[in-house]
């Protein structure tokens, strides 16, 4: 079924479900998510570069949960892949997964900023 958001960058219904359709809370969550993600993403990249895959998996887990709660389904999926690689201690495909997650995060951030504007 065609949609205006084929990548599932932002599912507003999920955000509304998380916040009980409280617009003020949704805006607060957007701010919190963007700040938390901006702080955690460098940590994730550092952990991946070391590589400290356990730590990377744990950070990815947090970002995945927050993304899912915000309705950022593409980002949640990308961080889920990184979490799985971290848990498995697997470096094969890590660079691609990191690039995918960063791109998904950028798209999610942009859509959330548009929503909050």
């Amino acid at each position: 079924m065609p949609t205006g958001d084929p990548l599932n960058v932002l599912n507003l219904e999920q955000l509304e479900a998380s916040a009980g359709s409280d617009r003020a809370l949704m805006l607060e969550l957007v701010e919190l998510y963007l700040a938390d993600g901006a702080a955690k993403l460098p940590t994730l990249l550092e952990a991946a570069a070391e590589p400290a895959l356990d730590r990377m998996g744990l950070v990815a887990h947090g970002l995945k949960g927050a993304s899912a709660a915000m309705g950022c389904e593409e980002a949640a999926g990308a961080f889920r892949v990184l979490e799985a690689l971290g848990r498995a201690g697997e470096t094969a495909g890590l660079d691609d997964a990191l690039a995918t997650a960063q791109a998904a995060w950028r798209r999610a951030s942009e859509r959330l900023r548009q929503f909050a504007a």
Binding site: A17, S18, L25, L32, A69
Partner: protein, 206 residues
């Protein structure tokens, strides 16, 4: 209710916190399992809502620690996690969780589950109060059972029907014991020997 939320993800924390505050609960938030365990050791909460994946003490370990505590008031534990397969639900509940909810949470479902939690907490409180009352009553009964209502003059004993029994009859009915009617040396000297002496005197005189 007094609720402790434990989650290292600030977004999830805020969602849970706001939902619980909207239900007029007294909400407290910590970021990891170790901090939660410290709070639980020093304060009383009705509900613990905990994430599973956390650095250090994770949600499952927290559940186990809570259930291994000796004494203390009942604590309702809800695991709120992005895990959702049946094996995880089983592991969570076997570790001591009362409920298991998958993230991302629907606020309506979360509130409904918290109403259910409140019913359980109220029931547990009521049960604990009733147990305390029964323990107090039992203690009083034990105390009364150790006090034998005995007449200080004739040594009759008041029975359960408020009548007075002879002590031998009372022992027969309550302790399943019968008396041999022996005579102790002091009583022999004081009571029996004078009677025997009197009998001898009367016999000599006649």
């Amino acid at each position: 209710m007094r609720i402790l939320i434990v989650d290292d993800d600030p977004v999830s924390c805020r969602i849970l916190e706001e939902a619980m505050q909207a239900m007029q609960h007294d909400v407290h938030v910590v970021q990891d399992g170790a901090a939660a365990w410290a709070r639980l050791a020093s304060e009383s909460f009705d509900v613990l809502m905990t994430d599973w994946e956390m650095p250090g003490v994770n949600g499952l370990e927290l559940c186990r620690r809570v259930r291994a505590r000796v004494g203390g008031a009942f604590l309702y534990v809800m695991l709120v996690t992005d895990r959702s397969i049946p094996e995880d639900v089983v592991a969570g509940i076997m570790a001591g969780a009362n409920d298991f909810m998958s993230k991302p949470c629907d606020r309506g479902e979360l509130c409904a589950r918290m109403h259910a939690a409140e019913r359980v907490v109220t029931l547990e409180r009521s049960l604990a109060e009733r147990v305390r009352e029964l323990e107090t009553a039992l203690h009083e009964v034990e105390t009364l059972r150790r006090l034998l209502p005995i007449c200080m003059y004739c040594k009759s004993i008041r029975n359960d029907q408020e009548a007075w029994d002879d002590i031998e009859e009372y022992l027969h009915h309550h302790a399943n014991a019968d008396c041999t009617h022996s005579i102790c040396p002091p009583c022999y000297e004081e009571r029996v020997q004078p009677m025997l002496d009197e009998m001898h005197r009367e016999k000599k005189a006649s």
